[in-house]
Amino acid sequence: MFSAMVKKELLLVLRDKHALMALFVMPALFIVIMSVAMRDQFSTKNIEFSLFVKDLDRSAMSQKVVDSLKKDTTFMLASTKEDADFLLEIPKNYAQESNATLHLLIQSSLQENEIKAFEAIVAEYIYKAKFLAITDTIEPFAPDVAKQFSSFEFDTQKLYKLEYNHTQLLPNSTQQSVPAWIVFGMFFIIIPMSTIYVNERKQNTLARLNSMNVSLFAMTLSKSIPYFFINQVQVWIMIAVGIFIVPLFDTPALEINGSVFAVLEVAVGLSLSAIGVSTLIAVSANSSEQATTIGGISNILLGAIGGVMVPKFIMPESMQNLAELSPMSWGLDGFLDIFLSAADSMSVFEDFAKLATFGVVSLGLSMVILHLRITKGL
């Protein structure tokens, strides 16, 4: 009996083309699009600015500045000023006049931190050139001082020993996008689940099954099992998209790094959670339209809060605290720990436990509501 119920549910969902699109195609497309679109934002490579330099001073000092900028790999010299992110104009007599200012024209799309970074690099070369000019001037009168001055180190990279604090690793765009859209896609089982549930209730099929001595537990469990397997297939298809499809678009491939068992553990927890919340919405709604609307909005809100749309590490602290309320965030944390910190099963157990508890409680509550709906005709 139970296998027939599972088979029926599976047949119904596999024949729903729209549901399959929402469950498989939508998250796969999101993974590719978002990984590629956010590639540069998440990149740890040097930021490259396109620069156009207009040297009206044409002094030895200004030439040194221009040469230094040309040699700097941070810059890519633009052939026209229209193509450039930055237009730097060194005015006439800049070397002679101490009050002269550089003219900087910046594309309005640039961010504040990019402008600050550019200003720091230009300042480094200007001060270095000015310092060397002063050194040249004083050399005939005080050669020892000039020698000391000329050995002065301006390269900021040699000022510090740069080291990353690995307690908070940041993902690249693929490492962020794959788990985020896996989690989001898994919760989209609400669409087929609610449509089937509401139709069954409206058409009295659930009542008919109940009159055939089918228990609510068997009904709920038989509906959950197919979606559990669909969720597991979703996870591995999306991981495959991250590993094999995303790199085709010049974007880093996904590396699992951690334990495969840990991936399974988080996937199981997430599936329980997704099934729980989907069932709860499906049994509470009065129509499939209502269920898909509430389900869709809930998914988007849980995703927005939980770091699917905006990564949690760029959220303000208050939002990061709020994110802890979303089961999507628990799943996302679990996957990120596996992909970034090579976490094992034990390390993600807390995330699994939270997800599984949330799922089981939601399913229990759903059964109570379903019981009331069938027996009281609510």
């Binding site: 009996m1 029926k8 409206k202 099929t205 009159s211 001595n213 089918v214």
Partner: protein, 291 residues
């Protein structure tokens, strides 16, 4: 077969069934009549073990519903008004699913298919069936557990006269198979045509229960109902029809009607004399202005 004694069901302060009692004989086709909100659906839901009742006793085939609900459910069946199956599955997939759920035997499965003429439709997706075919599938599912008693909740709503006729004929076949049928409908003509006994329910109580002919014959009338084998020609003869295969006439006009039927090649099934109209009687007893 079914004994209901002083059954009471309340929804909060509203009394849906008020000390309702009735008795249904084994193998009979029993009509349950009542306006919307009379308590028919609540009664059917209780009899099918879907909802609890507050007071009273229900015995189905000698078994207490309260004590052995699961057992009673195993030999009862409800044919809901809505099409309670899966439109995205084929007829066979639907039947296989419900047969597995009820652990139906191959014999019962084949009987349900045969009685409802579904053989040729097995591989067809349920959503592509006609209204009448869907109704037949809905009924076939209810037969899979070889029930001793079947409850029909308005099974002919929204279907064409031909399909309605087929369904009503098939219900008569269940009687031959020894199955007890409890039938609710808004169509008085259907009740008149297939039921042996009728209970009129109003405001949660049974106002009257008797054999149909007793109910109607008690009211002296020269009304005659001529039941024929279904033929589309019947619609073209200009006679007053009770339903797609029954004619209402008077004793005075009966001879002319029979002559006309003979000329048209329409075969007779049954003639009922002296009965009043069930609808008229129903309205009289319930004090309603319409059904």
């Amino acid at each position: 077969m079914l004994k209901v004694k002083n059954l009471t069901k309340r929804y909060g302060t509203k009394v849906a069934l008020d000390n309702l009692s009735l008795e249904i004989k084994k193998g009979s086709v029993f009509g349950l009549l009542g306006v919307n909100g009379a308590g028919k659906t609540t009664l059917l839901s209780i009899l099918n073990g879907l909802i609890d009742f507050d007071e009273g006793e229900v015995e189905v085939d000698g078994i207490s519903l309260k004590k052995e609900r699961k057992k009673v459910k195993s030999f009862s069946s409800i044919i809901p008004q809505h099409l309670a199956f899966y439109e995205n599955l084929t007829v066979k997939e639907n039947l296989d699913f419900f047969a597995s759920v009820q652990k139906a035997t191959q014999q019962d499965y084949e009987k349900a298919v045969e009685v409802n003429s579904l053989d040729a439709l097995l591989d067809q997706k349920a959503s592509t069936l006609s209204g009448g075919q869907k109704r037949r599938l809905n009924i076939a599912i209810g037969l899979l557990n070889n029930p001793k008693i079947i409850y029909f909740d308005e099974p002919t709503v929204g279907i064409d006269p031909k399909s309605r006729n087929e369904i009503l004929d098939s219900i008569k076949e269940y009687k031959q198979l020894g199955i007890t049928v409890v039938y609710t409908s808004h169509y008085m003509s259907e009740i008149e045509r297939i039921c042996d006994e009728v209970a009129i329910v109003n405001e949660g109580r049974v106002l009257e229960q008797d054999r149909l002919e007793n109910l109607l014959s008690n009211r002296v009338s020269d009304r005659v109902i001529v039941e024929c084998v279904y033929s589309e020609k019947l619609q073209t003869l200009g006679l007053t029809l009770l339903d797609s295969s029954s004619i209402v006439t008077t004793q005075e006009q009966l001879f002319e009607v029979l002559e006309l039927l003979q000329k048209s090649g329409i075969a007779l099934k049954h003639i009922r004399y002296g009965s009043t109209n069930l609808e008229k009687y129903f309205l009289e007893i319930t004090g309603e202005s319409s059904v």
